[in-house]
Symmetry: C4
Subunit: 125 residues, 4 copies
């Protein structure tokens, strides 16, 4: 267990979308765009997320700390500073960390006990 | 932030399919085969997409520009030049760019607020 | 276009499963476990697929040719020689090719115009 | 077939979640969080799984053997020693093996003949 960190310091997710409305069935049909971050190492990871769009300049950086030996599942809906993530808008994201982390992109559909509709490893380098 | 580009110049998606019909419920049940491209760098990316089939020669190249610091979600349904993408036909795609980009394959199901049914990072090299 | 091939010669898919029954709604509810292979190069690819199980020796090799500049979407249901793929049985697969190819694992749900439920790039090396 | 092993010795899955309740429709609606492991080599693989959480120290290691030339689809629900996996709790996992293996993350939805809702290759290094 001498080496516990795993991952990379730069990740990208080319696909993102927050729906702008729900469908009359309440929060169960809200989809949650999430980046799951794992920091298996012994030092806290200072992470920045930058969002890219189709027709405007990037937003961010949004700042997230992933403590040592912890995971954080970050919902894009909850990113508020420096600005909320626009809805009904295609976006992509770049995640940069000062420690190795692992990033996975997941969209949750909570209609059935937090089943997810999609998940894919991000692109790391 | 001195280095902002991320990704690779050649990507492949081995799976593609455009359904040939809808199911009486209108555009909500249309599936959208998409390649999401992120260009986080400082130079516009000139991208070509070549499509491969089971029993005919490849189609393309289709040309797409992804401006610097932008993302483009390209729907295969919308590729028209040099020829439309045939429906009800298995295909695969190779994406080549003159700048590093990140490619992700997503199939959208718009029945519920643009939920996606699948997404996977493309194969990059 | 001097270099057209892309991919690797060895791939693995750790997850596979063929359901053993359908649900009274006919072929629309049959799930199709598929490996999508792309050979973007100029030489035909001779591919072998070996299947691994939980409690018996591996099956195969199954032999598939992917012609130059073609894609083949191989359904595990259709592999018959040297033996059919057992149903209701967890399996994994290793794909070996004499040319670079790209492998993607997709499970199709044909209830809605060939929508897929999952897809992921295989592990290549 | 002189070289049969494929894969890496360290893998990470940044996303995991076990629902804490079902929805009145019995086991068909239970989702199964699974890591599929393939050991295509000639030596048994001794695998440890460590789980990471948001607000407590990691759990494990959980110990799993994947025999030579076998696959094992490990359900997180079934990991009991040293402690059960908590429900309704985000987690991430690191898989370490003394032999090369391939790891794939799959969430099964058994409503329709073991269809899966998501699957993605783990991050390997």
């Amino acid at each position: 267990m001498s080496k516990t960190s795993i991952g990379k310091r730069r990740w990208a997710i080319a696909e993102g979308y927050l729906p702008g409305w729900s469908h009359g069935e309440g929060p169960q049909l809200t989809s949650h765009e999430t980046v799951c971050l794992l920091n298996a190492g012994e030092a806290d990871a200072q992470v920045t997320i930058t969002l890219y769009f189709t027709d405007r300049e990037p937003a961010g950086p949004y700042r997230v700390t992933v403590p040592a030996r912890r995971t954080r599942h970050v919902r894009f809906n909850n990113l508020k500073d420096p600005e909320p993530v626009p809805k009904e808008t295609d976006f992509a994201s770049v995640i940069e960390s000062n420690q190795p982390v692992v990033a996975q992109h997941t969209r949750l559909d909570s209609r059935q006990a937090e089943l997810a509709l999609l998940s894919t490893i991000a692109y790391g380098e």
